[in-house]
């Protein structure tokens, strides 16, 4: 392959072509398997990335960029022939400026490593997907990842100040910078966020950081119905924005019996954090509890670090705990991810519960009640086509419930290949096909030869 011959003298041993070494790059965390790459490239610098793209462009070679490979939608696997570019060697934190509240990082830095680094300075980078152990800066920007702290801090898009990007033809461009605001025509930084490796390769990110809250109090409340939980959170948010606001259904709670014990009659639980200074946190906690008590069967709170961590890890590790409830070897967990306006969450959730039962699906429901994000962890037997048909039907049902309630078919995991059809359905439902056309036009301008993540988001 001429492409490989030309790239090898530049990247040396970081051009991988042995079949055995290519196999792991056929997968991400979704249930899809991609094409076997013709090569895997491991750039160590922006210059390497530029060289790779310049040569790939010359020879029309499709390139899929891969970070932590924790995508749940098949967005970091090859859909056509081509090569995979892994960003894991570019894993340095380049600069920290506490005055500017900005950290500069390479794309391959894992979010947990960034967190550990910032902790030393009593700061944090708020986007915290449950996959933060594996997910990278580049990957999380490219999927606009959200997380448990979304209710107070928003999602990745709210924390990216600027990006350095290598375009499909190898040109280096800079979108934004370290400043906290700017009004400079189109917001090109925003355009890159959630673009799933289809518009350019992120080689550097300027990220906004925040001081860690001085104190946290963690509150658990148990409800008979999701309506009660919904009313409670709505009333709380009239007065206080909690640091975290998560809900879990009974199946989810049953998967963490040691960490969270619930009273009889519980169907849903809320997990809330109040934050503030030493002086204010206690008062906020009490205010939240007063409201919760109006609707909940029982509320509990703690400010003990160990206990708080146990509860947090139980929520963050729900995926792991639910995995343990698999009934068959080889059974997979397909993760549904939709979003509705916060006020619509209880009614949407009730419809999803009905659809789950009608479709004959076993699924745990949980998510970020603070920002209207509902997840369904669906047990799926990939080897059974009937089971997969039911799973796909349920995914479509969830998607349509979300759009009927004014929401979206993907909240934070992206489109990848999994939700291509659902994206079209949402646009069609909203009579908004023109937006899809605009997206395709943007893609053409950025990547006229369609070499970046070909077949992702749309064909």
């Amino acid at each position: 392959m001429e492409f490989i011959d030309e790239i090898r003298p530049i990247l040396g041993k970081y051009v991988i072509t042995k079949k055995e070494d290519l196999i792991p790059y056929m997968n991400d965390a979704s249930y899809f398997t991609g094409e076997m790459p013709q090569a895997v490239l491991l750039p160590g610098s922006t210059q390497d990335v530029q060289n790779i793209m310049r040569i790939a462009y010359k020879y029309d070679v499709p390139v899929v960029v891969k970070g932590g490979g924790s995508s749940l939608t098949g967005s970091s696997i090859l859909k056509t022939e081509g090569v995979v570019m892994s960003m894991l060697r570019m894993n340095h934190i380049l600069d920290l400026n506490l005055n500017d509240k900005c950290v500069t990082a390479e794309p391959g830095v894992r979010l947990d490593d960034l967190e550990r680094f910032l902790e030393k300075y009593d700061h944090f980078y708020p986007p915290d997907p449950a996959s933060s152990r594996a997910a990278t800066v580049g990957g999380s920007i490219s999927t606009n990842a959200g997380g448990l702290r979304g209710v107070a801090y928003g999602v990745t898009k709210d924390w990216v100040l600027g990006l350095e990007v290598v375009l499909a033809d190898g040109t280096l461009v800079k979108f934004g910078n370290k400043t906290l605001k700017r009004s400079l025509g189109y917001d090109m930084t925003a355009l890159m966020i959630g673009s799933e490796g289809t518009l350019g390769v992120i080689t550097k990110a300027y990220l906004k950081i925040w001081p860690k809250p001085e104190r946290i109090a963690r509150i658990l409340a148990f409800f008979r119905t999701i309506d009660d939980a919904g009313r409670a959170i709505a009333e709380i948010k009239e007065h206080i924005i909690p640091e975290m606001a998560e809900f879990m259904d009974k199946i989810s709670l049953d998967s963490v019996p040691d960490a969270i014990k619930y009273p009889q009659g519980t169907n849903y639980a809320l997990l809330l954090d109040a934050s503030g200074s030493k002086e204010t946190v206690q008062r906020r906690k009490e205010d939240i509890e007063t409201i919760l008590k109006k609707y909940a069967i029982e509320t509990r709170s703690t400010m003990d670090e160990t206990e708080m961590n146990r509860i947090y890890q139980a929520r963050k590790g729900l995926y792991a705990s639910i995995l343990k409830l698999r009934e068959k070897e080889g059974e997979y967990i397909v993760i549904g991810d939709i979003v509705v306006p916060v006020s619509e969450l209880p009614s949407a959730l009730k419809e999803i519960e009905i659809a789950r039962d009608q479709d004959g699906i076993r699924a745990a429901l949980f998510g970020h009640i603070g920002d209207g994000n509902i997840h369904a962890n669906i047990f799926a037997d990939l080897s059974d086509s009937q089971s997969m048909e039911r799973v796909n039907k349920f995914m479509m049902d969830m998607a349509m419930i979300s759009v009927r309630h004014g929401g979206s078919v993907s909240a934070e995991h992206g489109i990848g290949i999994e939700k291509k059809k659902l994206l079209v359905e949402e646009m069609r439902f909203n009579d908004n096909m023109r937006t899809l056309e605009l997206m395709k036009s943007v893609k053409k301008i950025f990547d006229p030869k369609n070499i970046l993540n070909r077949g992702n988001i749309f064909d």
Binding site: I16, E20, D21, D28, A29, S70, R110, G317, K324, I333
Partner: protein
Amino acid sequence: MTKLQDLIAEAGKCVNCGFCESVCPTLPAAGFLSTKGARGRVDIAKFFYKDDSIDPSASFYSCVDCYACLTVCPAGVNAGKVSEIGRMILAKQGKAPEIAKMIVELTMRYKNPLGVREKCAQWARGIEFDAPETLLYTGNMYQLMAYLRKFGKLRKFFGQYEVQLASFIRKHPSSVSIFRDLYDKAMMDKMNGYLINIVKLLKQNGIKFGYLGSEEPYPGTFIYDLGFEDEFRDYARYVSELFRSKGVKRIITVDPHTYELLKYIYPRYTEFNFEVVYYMDLIGTHKISGKYAVHTPCHFSRYFDFSEYVGRMFDVNVEENPTRCCGGPDELLFPEISENISEKRFNELSKTGLPIVTACPICYANLAKDDSVTDISSILLADGERVSSASVH
């Protein structure tokens, strides 16, 4: 269950989330090549059981068996175990690397991987032993480190011809005699000194024990770790029989690998009715003054909380992640990966500015990049203050 079924059962639970990659020491050490990281190993295993025409040996053999992956996997998969089973399948198929075959054959023949049992017994010259039913068993582990360091240099010298070198030695096993004097003198002196420390510590505590001298066999760690299960079974039988014939009842081990092998693995392969203890169990609890950076051996952290154990004796720099490897297990087959891991680990420990303490000869040999590194026996011996007698388990 066949080994292939074992492999399917372990790897089949994986959902490919990538968490394990973030803690696997071999991934960054191998330039982030996925096959030499935890998730890649599981992916290769999943592919291998459908298509055994691929050669997964580099992936399985480069795993250092630290089990860090298991501590973070949401699905409870142990990529270390996957690699171990993979190696057993490859060894059975005759597809193990040439150097691995050489080491196993030499060990089977000489009961020592380099045929240097006499040399390995020299540290004990002049020491009086008694009570053969309690055996001090070094397994030649401390002593061999001095040879492996030189062996690594020899391999570097042979470069791409190392396979030919291994094949030659396999064909002419007596040529192994070249190793007899091929050891790192300074390292040998240190290692012998640590064994003498251990003897003193035991004697100070009134323990009576014997030692097999040049009859002492290597425990077979390489044979097991390299996947040669059938050979290991025969070897374990030999060692067990030898101990029985010497009237041994209780075995005092001095390093984590031998301790693990004798206590947990031998009984799976042969009748092994001996009490196996670790020497630190017998010397009481010391409270050491001063602060140290203690490197926990992976093979201890599998069975008990070594940090807690050490915490009772030392004022230590507590580690965030107790399963950080020293890189040692890759020294034989992947010296570059081994060097990268040990360099990183040494720097982490060194950054504390504290004296570094190891409790395993392999960790010591890999981390002793300057004089700040010491074997735990030296510190224990230097401090006489005995607080109480407590057992670890």
